[in-house]
């Protein structure tokens, strides 16, 4: 069975212990205003445009049926009308236009991951599943975790927490560490900025804690949205209620992602 993957990032040192490889799944139920991986939001492959690779041959300009490409001294891409037909990708001579994701099997993913085995063994690292929301591709996620465990890899799952609890139950025995994101404690604010209520998320966290799983709660610090004292202390006291031994990490906002919106021909709502 195949999964939709946006990237396999080796030498990943921010998502769990040691030196790891992070596999980014495509598709996410939430649509956070500040999303750091916008290319992983949608569950469908999308056209991305790497303008630094463009040689301005104007092929795409001529052939795009939806007129998404414009000539302003350089080629620019606006995705509003794009129906992801892929004609431009097939005709770009230099790979400046490409799909934002690849459909590959768990075995293929693992082949890439296993290239860094020696680093995991030395550093206590392993594989991290991130995204997007890995649990949205639950079968593929399960398959990849199962295969990883067969190779005796340490597994971490970076999740938004938004999934049916039975999906959690399915993969739980295969996950050594949950990196559980909580953005906002106020359900209304959560719905306003991410599109969905946080009730199932908090509920899942509570139930996972009951199972005694190893969890790190991560709060992305988005200036003006999640970094208020009220929100942070609210999350912290909720986590304490769930279980006392849970570590909370605050993740600084990464302004690098602005460029990713540009690649997708989209406007970043944060601007």
């Amino acid at each position: 069975m195949n999964g939709l993957i946006t990237n396999i990032q080796r030498f990943s040192v921010h998502d769990g212990p040691g030196i790891r490889t992070t596999v980014f799944f495509k598709g996410c139920p939430l649509s956070c205003l500040w999303c750091q991986n916008p290319e992983a939001m949608s569950s469908r492959p999308e056209v991305i445009f790497h303008s630094e690779q463009c040689i301005a041959c104007k092929t795409c300009l001529r052939i795009c049926p939806k007129k998404c490409m414009a000539w302003e001294g350089i080629i620019s891409f606006k995705s509003d009308n794009c129906d992801q037909c892929g004609i431009c990708i097939n005709n770009c001579p230099v790979n400046a236009l490409r799909w934002s994701s690849e459909e590959i099997s768990a075995r293929e993913v693992l082949n890439e991951v296993m290239k860094d085995r020696v680093y995991y063994d030395i550093s206590g690292g392993g594989i991290t599943l991130s995204g997007g929301e890995p649990l949205q591709q639950s079968d593929f996620c399960h398959d990849l975790l199962k295969k990883s465990k067969k190779e005796k890899l340490h597994t971490a799952l970076d999740t938004s927490g938004y999934a049916p609890f039975k999906t959690f139950e399915l993969i739980m025995p295969l996950v050594d560490l949950f990196l559980f994101d909580i953005k906002l404690i106020d359900p209304q604010l959560h719905e306003r900025y991410t599109g969905l209520s946080n009730v199932p998320i908090l509920d899942n966290l509570f139930r996972l804690c009951q199972e005694g799983k190893k969890i790190i709660v991560r709060i992305p610090l988005i200036p003006g949205f999640t970094d208020s004292k009220k929100n942070l202390s609210g999350i912290e006291s909720f986590v304490k209620q769930c279980s006392t031994g849970i570590k909370i990490e605050r993740i600084p906002y990464n302004p690098l992602m602005k460029n990713k919106y540009h690649l997708l021909g989209r406007v970043n709502m944060m601007d």
């Binding site: 080796r10 040192v13 040689i55 001579p93 030395i122 550093s123």
Partner: protein, 671 residues
């Protein structure tokens, strides 16, 4: 195999004549030195020798460490008396040779006596006692050993590698500590002063060859880390010296504490600490018929080439495998005009690193007539082999300048048997050939294989035209070339080419023998990479003339896109155990990629360990902040203290040439 006169065991007439003349000049030079004693310091002697320069000409062969172990063991007086005593066993030139050594050491002892007197006048009883003792006998205390270390350093013209300082001095330190003669704090003060003196002697000159090599294992595999190893590293971490340059020999059983200190060094970003993998190098040296006892004493010489501490010199030559790609594509000719060419560059150099057969290349068939990739690759290999053979069969005369007797006397067999220090009976020379820019050459060949022969996307004549034109007009060709597989991304398509070139290179070099009849060593190293960038024209990997080439076995700056683990994996596929003369990975990690990680030191330690487990040879981890470097280039006045690794040495960034600064910036952005 050609041998020149002065390779004979005995000292020939022509040599003795030059030695006699030179010795007179040397003694004049010695006598010029003032008696410098500072009452605030523990050791006597000036920071720098009179008329000091890093590369004095005519120089004492600077790729020759002093036999410090022997010197500490016998003392100046021991060498003097031994030379005198043994002289009577010989006749003619040999006797004259030993008597000249005696004369040199007598002058040195006289100078030390005058130090003792001057100290007495200044009522500095410690320095007085130490100098008096050194003028009469071998050092017996740690203080005396440190003083001898310094005198020996400044009595030599020019600089050289310092060698295994922690091993040289440890017996004295341990004895004094045990007997209660000194405390740990007193010992530390002496070591601190010695290091301070090396820093002052270097005087911020950059490439001074003042390398120290710490730790390491012995023949039985036992770790030789001692208290001085840690003390030196702690002191070097504590102050912002760029000298002496630190090299550490690690192996399977190196203590964790040592590894931790090294990663702390790496994190400072100065690149001051180069790691040598004993498990690869000591084992490798055995294959080159070096006895175990001697191999165990290898140390870093200047850049990353190795030398046998106290047993002989190192010398090397260099060819470039990316230039050979250019030669193959252009029928043996260069693709850079006039003053930019390698031939012109070679003609401006007064050393033999690049000689005409190599810069001219072999006249080969036209690229246009090479029908298959195999045709092309065969032509490339024959080009490379031609250059290796041309370089290694050219007469070898790095020892035109006779070794000064002060240095020679510390070599094995010289004062005992009146042996010529350049002879194979006396010394264990390390002679090697370096090949540079392996990654860039592999990238270029991979691009030709994929784009010209397999996918047929670029016609041969179009590629040649684009290369001649430095990709100015044809951006499509350049884009395709840039997108071809690149070394350093753990991609077998291109890594396999690098492996094959390296393997053949080792085999071809090994077939050549040095003047002592032992196989010549090979190394994957390029000490001229910043020049190579300019005298190699545009390459089929999409690199323009002037853009950096990959240093040593590192990827071409800007082309390794998957991070350090992929780089180490690519490099590990090359059997560097066959290239122990020095195959260095410069691993540049942008500071930003480590920000926010709980334990960046542990990450660096684990990368080093993985490199060693994979059988790597030499690694230098450099943490660079590209933005800071660009700022420093714009506002040098604000960044006087910013130190970066260059090749064999670390140096102040603002003091580098613009070309070198650009190279360092490019590599900081690369991974």
């Amino acid at each position: 195999m050609k041998t020149t006169n002065n390779c004979n065991i005995k000292v020939p007439d022509i040599l003795i004549q030059r030695i006699t003349e030179d010795t007179e000049r040397y003694i004049e030079w010695l006598k010029k030195s003032d008696t410098v004693i500072d009452s605030n310091l523990l050791l006597a002697g000036p920071f720098q020798s009179p008329e000091y320069s890093v590369w004095p000409r005519p120089h004492d062969n600077f790729h020759y460490p002093l036999g410090m172990k022997k010197l500490l063991n016998l003392g100046f007086s021991g060498i003097k008396s031994k030379a005198w005593k043994n002289a009577s066993n010989f006749h003619g030139n040999e006797r004259l040779y030993l008597r000249l050594i005696h004369r040199v050491y007598a002058v040195i002892i006289h100078i030390i006596e005058s130090y003792a007197m001057a100290a007495k006048e200044k009522r500095l009883s410690d320095i007085h006692m130490v100098c008096r003792s050194l003028s009469r006998r071998a050092p017996s205390t740690f203080h005396e050993a440190c003083q001898l270390y310094w005198f020996a350093t400044v009595f030599r013209i020019g600089t050289s590698t310092i060698g295994r300082i922690d091993q040289h001095l440890y017996p004295f330190y341990r004895k004094d500590l045990k007997s209660g003669l000194i405390t740990e704090a007193e010992g530390r003060k002496l070591v601190a002063e010695l290091l301070y003196r090396f820093e002052m002697r270097g005087g911020g000159r950059g490439d001074t060859l003042q390398n120290i090599t710490l730790s390491g294992r012995n023949a039985a595999g036992k770790d030789k880390t001692n208290e001085l190893t840690y003390m030196i590293l702690e002191l070097m971490l504590g102050n912002q010296y760029i000298e002496p340059k630190i090299n550490v020999r690690l192996h399977k059983k190196s203590p964790g504490k040592l590894l931790d200190m090294i990663s702390r060094f790496q994190l400072t970003g100065t690149g001051l600490c180069t790691v040598f993998n004993d498990d690869t190098i000591v084992e490798g040296l055995k294959k080159y018929r070096r006895p175990e006892k001697i191999s165990d004493d290898y140390c870093a010489d200047g850049c990353s080439e190795i030398i046998l501490d106290g047993y002989g010199e190192t010398s090397f030559r260099y060819i470039d495998c990316v230039k050979a790609v250019e030669h193959t594509l252009f029928g043996g000719k260069e693709n850079v005009p006039g003053k930019k060419s390698m031939q012109y560059y070679a003609s401006t150099q007064d050393f033999v690193d690049i000689n005409p057969p190599v810069s001219e290349g072999k006249k080969t068939e036209s690229f246009l007539s090479m029908k298959t990739f195999e045709d092309f690759y065969r032509a490339y290999l024959s080009q490379l082999k031609y250059q290796i053979d041309a370089m290694l069969s050219a007469p070898y005369n790095s020892n035109e300048n006779p070794m000064r007797l002060f240095t020679a006397a510390t070599m094995p067999g010289v004062i005992e048997k009146a042996l010529n220090p350049y002879s194979n009976k006396a010394c264990w020379h390390t002679y090697g050939l370096f090949i540079g820019s392996l990654g860039t050459a592999a990238n270029s060949i991979a691009a030709i294989k994929l784009l010209v022969y397999e996918r047929k996307l670029i016609k041969k004549e179009v590629l040649l035209e684009a290369l001649k034109d430095n990709f100015e007009k044809n951006s499509l060709v350049r884009r395709l070339c840039l997108d071809a597989p690149k070394f350093g991304n753990d991609d077998n398509y291109v890594d396999a080419i690098a492996i094959d070139i390296a393997r053949r290179f080792a085999l071809w070099v090994k077939k050549h023998k040095d003047r002592t009849g032992r196989p010549i060593l090979s190394g994957l190293y390029n000490h001229l990479f910043h020049h190579t960038a300019y005298y190699v024209g545009a390459t089929p990997d999409g690199r323009k003339n002037g853009d950096p080439v990959g240093e040593h076995i590192s990827p071409t700056p800007g082309t390794a896109l998957k991070g350090p683990t992929s780089i180490i994996n690519s490099v590990s596929k090359i059997r560097t155990a066959e290239h122990i003369f020095g195959s260095t990975l410069h691993l540049n990690i942008p500071l930003v990629s480590l920000k926010g990680t709980p334990d960046p030191e542990a990450i660096l330690k684990h990368l080093t360990l993985a490199f060693m487990i994979n059988g790597g040879c030499v690694i230098n981890i450099n943490i660079l902040d590209a933005e800071q470097l660009i700022e420093a280039q714009k506002h040098p006045e604000k960044y006087h203290d910013l130190v970066v690794r260059v090749w064999g040495f670390s140096y102040y960034f603002v003091g580098l040439s613009r070309e070198m600064q650009d190279h360092v910036i490019a590599r900081s952005q690369s991974e």
